[in-house]
Amino acid sequence: MVDALIAAASVLAAAVAVGFAGLGPGIGQGNAAGQAVEGIARQPEAEGKIRGTLLLSLAFMESLTIYGLVVALSVLFANPFTS
């Protein structure tokens, strides 16, 4: 009974973790990409530099989502509270 409860709570927790972890970085990545496009439109000769910086910062933002994913994975596959 307790195990079933823990399993249900873990699945919900994993879903909430990934969902909310995707929310913030999604907004941030949209902002960053929009500003980069604006920058390229204003100054097309700087495209290479802008693209490099954009990719690097997108990967940093992506890693915040990944933290949520790691929490979700550890809740699903390595849960310390199940026997």
Binding site: L56, A59, I66, L69, V70, L73, F77
Partner: protein, 235 residues
């Protein structure tokens, strides 16, 4: 036939090599990472054994990698100190790149194991934790070597009450490095596995390409961050 194409999702199961009650190794991680190290060393030593003024195609690949790592090191650490730490940054970059690509490019699923499966060594959190702790040790070493005992002034830098935050930062830096690499590699492999179990043909290919791109980018980011952490303490 169809069951051959589908693969199980395996997270957290390993091929254990037991030495005693408490000491055991993750066999598949050790095998694949030593293969990666051996392949990288042989590749690099063969190509760099006879360097030519007009580079062959393989030599130009090596030169591109060298220029990339050198530019990362110079940008993050400044032109006067970068050469001491260039070997470390290059080693980290090549190892992470090699192990990520080995997980993505070599069809390990064809080899059956009794438990666990062959995958990228960075798929195991112990490998990435080791790399992160190495980064941590190296920036402590860099700070103490270049600044001497004055290195500890960094902890009270903006004001004295920043001391606890600065100490916590020493722990969160390796933790975030660790989780970033591990999570990205596992996320790629999980996505590919889940999509393969839904549609085994053609549809997973773009996702695999994205995974290949993301895993190369992760190597670049790990190297950049290591260089940035070292550069932060020596400037």
């Amino acid at each position: 036939m169809l069951s051959l194409l589908l693969s199980k999702i395996e997270v957290g199961s390993h091929l254990y090599i037991n030495f005693s009650e408490t000491l055991h190794l993750h066999g598949e991680t050790i095998i694949v990472s030593s293969l990666v190290v051996a392949a990288l060393s042989i590749f690099l030593s063969i190509i760099t054994s006879n360097l030519k003024r007009i580079p062959s195609s393989l030599q130009s690949v090596i030169e591109i990698i060298y220029e990339l790592v050198k530019s990362i090191a110079i940008i993050q650490m400044g032109p006067s100190y970068y050469s001491q730490f260039l070997p470390f940054i290059a080693t980290i970059f090549l190892f992470v790149l090699g192990s990520n690509l080995s997980g993505a490019l070599i069809p390990w699923k064809l080899i059956e194991l009794s438990s666990g499966e062959f995958a990228a060594p960075t798929n195991d959190i112990n490998t990435t934790a080791c790399l992160a702790i190495l980064t941590s040790i190296s920036y402590f070493f860099a700070g103490l070597k270049i600044k001497g005992i004055g290195y500890f002034k960094r902890y009270i830098k903006p004001a004295v009450f920043f001391l606890p935050l600065n100490i916590v930062e020493d722990f969160t830096k390796p933790l975030s490095l660790n989780f970033r690499l591990f999570g990205n590699v596992v996320a790629d492999e999980l996505t590919v596995t889940v999509i393969c179990s839904l549609v085994p043909l053609i549809i997973p290919l773009p996702i695999m390409m994205l995974g290949l791109f993301a895993s190369s980018l992760q190597a670049l980011i790990f190297a950049t961050l290591s260089a940035a952490y070292i550069g932060e303490v020596i400037e």
